[in-house]
């Protein structure tokens, strides 16, 4: 039970400092660590570099940390849904580094896997490759990208056992498993904490070695684009 904390606030205790780098899981608003983002805001920590595929929306997800101007820099692939983000960025208050989504995912995976750099064809011949080494393998050009690590990773999973083994649900998995591996400290919020031994050991997505602290959260799970089909009636 050493890894289980009472709430998001206590789970972040002693882990935050100004200027730190934080990875935050999720794709859009799907699978984001809602509870830990709010708790991170409440710590008042400043000048964060946040690595996250997206930047939330106004007032929800990372949008909450933008509102309070706690973020100095974002490393993301797409930030389209956030007016406050736009405003700060256009005003020069916020630094932004765009990474192609797959390069971002692989940089995080590499960081967690002890790989300081790798080559990819993604972005060759584009702005993304500027200032980076380009090398030819087997007649094709590839750009060198570096691994990413963070001082803290905040992650949302579906279930955890008491030893920190994690299972994700559907497309809420997204960036969460890699980020769990790439944080010097990884804090996870889940919908359910189950007794050790109740998860199928063949179906664990993130082994407990990557998980330092766990909380059971409460979730709004806001939907960005509710698209439905209409049931045809007879």
């Amino acid at each position: 039970m050493r890894k289980i904390y009472a709430d998001a606030e206590s789970a972040l205790e002693g882990l935050t400092f100004d200027g730190m780098t934080v990875m935050s899981g999720g794709f859009g608003l799907c699978g984001i660590p809602e509870n830990l983002i709010a708790a991170l805001r409440d710590t008042g920590v400043k000048a964060l570099t946040v690595i996250s595929n997206n930047a939330g929306v106004d007032g929800f997800g990372l949008g909450q940390l933008l509102e309070t101007r706690q973020i100095a820099k974002m490393i993301s692939s797409y930030v389209g849904e956030n007016k406050e983000f736009e405003r700060q960025y256009l005003a020069g208050e916020l630094q932004l580094e765009f990474n192609p989504q797959g390069t971002l995912a692989e940089r995080i995976r590499a960081g967690g896997a002890g790989i300081p750099a790798f080559f990819t064809a993604t972005g060759v011949g584009t702005l993304v490759a500027e200032g980076k080494e380009v090398r030819t393998f087997d007649g094709r050009d590839y750009v060198m990208e570096t691994g990413l690590v963070a001082d803290l990773s905040i992650v949302k999973a579906w279930k955890a056992d008491e030893r920190g083994n994690l299972v994700f649900r559907k497309t809420a998995r997204n960036f969460n498993p890699m980020m769990a591996t790439a944080g010097k400290v990884t804090v996870v919020e889940v919908e359910e904490i189950v007794p050790t031994g109740s998860l199928d050991p063949d179906a664990i997505h993130t082994p407990g070695v990557y998980v330092d602290r766990i909380i059971k959260g409460t979730f709004e799970k806001r939907i960005e684009q509710r698209t439905i089909r209409i049931r045809e009636t007879a």
């Binding site: 692939s77 995912a105 998995r173 806001r222 089909r229």
Partner: protein
């Protein structure tokens, strides 16, 4: 007459082949899913981390944990599998997806594509577009022939920042279809939309192109 959005999607669906794994971009490409021929086995990939993407859910089945790369709620089907975004882009980067159908702002004679950034305008980011064009085996662009100012989007050279270089294999527009010949050999006009003339394409296309000997009017 130029093709409508639906007709563009229908024409793009002819690019599908039985057994294909396909990634569809946002916008018109998403509509291609509605035109998969009956009996054809096509598996749709969503780059956030899903293979075997089903249709939009009924209202009562909406699940916030189940969205596509356009952040729309979707459903799973019997063959669905979920994986991380790293595994998803390993699949894309490794050349395991047969076909990507994408929109574009500009495409050039040499297969260059620009679809993520307009200098001076707010940039939202490239998302997975650069990975898709670099990694997927065959990239087909579906787009309006001209931009809203009436200017050709099929160009000698892209003017906007690129998404990828030499990656597009085919361009399907509301007027016609071009093949991008391998090795920088330029464009070849291979189809006209119904009622569209060669002169019309010539007038509205900035890029140079050859005309296929088997050029046919679309059915």
């Amino acid at each position: 007459m130029p093709r409508t959005r639906e007709q563009l999607a229908e024409r793009a669906a002819q690019e599908l082949q039985d057994g294909f794994y396909v990634n569809l971009g946002i916008g018109i490409p998403t509509l291609v899913a509605n035109y998969i021929p009956a009996g054809m086995e096509v598996t749709l990939q969503s780059e956030n981390g899903m293979l075997g993407m089903g249709p939009f859910p009924y209202d009562e089945d909406v699940d916030p944990d189940l969205i596509n790369a356009g952040k729309q709620t979707i459903t799973e089907i019997p063959e669905s599998a979920y994986f991380s975004s790293a595994d998803s882009f390993a699949m894309i980067r490794g050349g395991h997806i047969n076909l990507s159908i994408l929109g574009a702002m500009e495409v050039a004679e040499n297969g260059d594509i620009a679809n993520w950034m307009i200098p001076g305008k707010l940039v939202k980011g490239m998302g997975g577009a650069m990975d898709l064009v670099a990694g997927v085996k065959r990239v087909v662009v579906v787009m309006e022939h001209a931009n809203k100012h009436g200017q050709s989007k099929v160009l000698k050279a892209c003017t906007l920042p690129l998404t990828g270089t030499g990656v597009v294999s085919r361009i399907i527009t509301d007027l016609c279809v071009f093949d991008v010949k391998p090795g920088g050999a330029g464009l070849e006009l291979i189809e006209l939309a119904e009622g569209v003339t060669l002169d019309e394409v010539a007038a509205r296309t900035e890029a140079a192109y050859s005309i296929s000997q088997t050029l046919k009017a679309a059915a």
